[in-house]
């Protein structure tokens, strides 16, 4: 089944181009529809949090944007350009790996299980992309990496391997590693879910500092409602692969319109 791509613009133009736009994006795993014709815009510099029950497709949103998953229909735009497709002779065609690599360079991601490279030190992890992808000299890469390790409070751990770092420290190194690449969009996929409760604030404090400090656009999937409420510009509640309800944290958490949102929030609050 091929989709008629002519209804999608080749690129987004105008004053109000969102940093990220999902248009009509569907993702299936076999018969299971994970995302169903998703439309979602994220403005430049905006912090959008995605909440919802497991299986609602929230992590899939981030994974598609990071190109860890392909999409079955629709288009994703990043910074005005299509990510999943590319323009050829006035038409949108599935993106080549070269095109994907170019657009992907605007996106960074932190994972639930950190995914640091175990055979490299904290500094080595941060430098890897700078040297191997951006082509920086080792000196420049080290300088930039140390700035970021310093920002996450781990400059003195530069020579430690991940196995010698706590979960909170590993996640902070992962954030430094992603930021070192200077992405325009940062994705946080349940970055505190694998952490012990007492170190969660180490990580949330770092993210808190990012908000407002740059024009970094951020998308975060989290189960920490308090953090989401405090930090987000907008909260999206996902249900069955679509945005069931979205709005400012105040509105969504205190005055949800939809029954499903209320049920979910009540269930989460009960659990806490």
């Amino acid at each position: 089944m091929t989709e008629d791509m002519s209804r999608y613009p080749l690129r987004l133009e105008g004053d109000d181009v969102p940093m990220v736009r999902f248009r009509n994006v569907t993702k299936r795993y076999g018969p299971l529809v994970v995302l169903n014709q998703l439309d979602l815009d994220v403005s430049t510099g905006e912090m959008v949090t995605i909440i919802g029950p497991s299986g609602s497709g929230k992590t899939t949103v981030l994974r598609m944007l990071m190109t860890l998953e392909t999409i079955d229909s629709g288009v994703i735009y990043v910074d005005g350009e299509p990510l999943t497709h590319m323009e050829r002779n006035g038409q949108l065609l599935p993106a080549s790996s070269k095109h994907i690599r170019r657009i992907r360079s605007k996106i960074g991601m932190c994972f639930q299980h950190f995914n640091l490279f175990p055979h490299m030190t904290a500094l080595g992890n941060c430098m890897e992309g700078l040297v191997q992808v951006l082509g920086l000299s080792r000196r420049e890469a080290e300088e930039r990496s140390m700035e970021l390790l310093d920002m996450v409070g781990l400059a003195e751990k530069r020579d430690e391997h991940p196995s010698r770092l706590s979960g909170g420290q590993q996640q902070r190194v992962a954030i430094a590693r992603a930021l070192a690449m200077r992405p325009k969009v940062m994705l946080f996929d349940e970055v505190t879910s694998a952490l012990d409760p007492e170190v969660i604030s180490e990580v949330t404090n770092v993210i808190r500092r990012l908000v407002g400090a740059h024009d970094l656009t951020m998308l975060m999937v989290t189960h920490q409602m308090g953090f989401a409420k405090e930090i987000s510009d907008r909260v999206c509640f996902f249900f069955n692969g679509a945005v069931e309800e979205q709005g400012t944290p105040a509105k969504l958490f205190e005055n949800p319109e939809r029954e499903r949102t209320r049920q979910f929030l009540n269930a989460v609050l009960d659990a806490n």
């Binding site: 990071m66 992907r104 299980h113 995914n115 490279f117 175990p118 992309g129 191997q132 391997h161």
Partner: protein, 223 residues
Amino acid sequence: MIEWRWHLVWELAPRFVDAAGKTLLAAGGGYSIAVVLGLVLVLAQRTRFRPLTFAVREFVELIRSTPLLLQVFFVFYVGPQFGLVLSPWTAGLIAIGLHYGAYLSEVYRGGIESVPAGQWEAAKALNLSVVRTYRRIVIPQALPPAISGMGNYLVGIFKDTPMLSVIGVTELMHTATAVGAESYRYLEPYTMVGAIFLAISLPAAYLISRFEKWVRRTLGMVK
């Protein structure tokens, strides 16, 4: 009762030292081919080009399901009928290289599959190219778990070099048999062969396990 003749041992020693060198050369040469071929096979199996992955998988299965001795004969005796005339040495190295390359590709595959999916994803999120992902991220992590398997096959290839005696490679076994035919003494030559194999295999196995620990330590992956 047959008595052990030490003077024969001393007399034969130079010939056996020479043959041991050839055995090591055959094992080393065959292993070098296998190490590289195994890597080519495993990478070919991981491409998305179906006919290639299918062909490689079938080839590996074919090699692993037939005896090495048959493969040695095939390369040496059947090859010439197709115009491929090889010296015993070349034929022998190709045969054990192919044979052990197929086994090593499976060892590599196990090593590569032991690298968590999250590592590939992190590499992608950093926009590393496929080649750099293998070279910088995957292979260094796939190596430590593969070393013991690679070491076993190194000892294995060494112990399989006597197979090459049947096509005339003058390694240890060939030499012992020749001595037997000349002198009608079999006890000393074959015992010497056994002793030499033991004297090389045992320290090799020990060194391999030391090497594995060293690699893990060097890569900072001590658990």
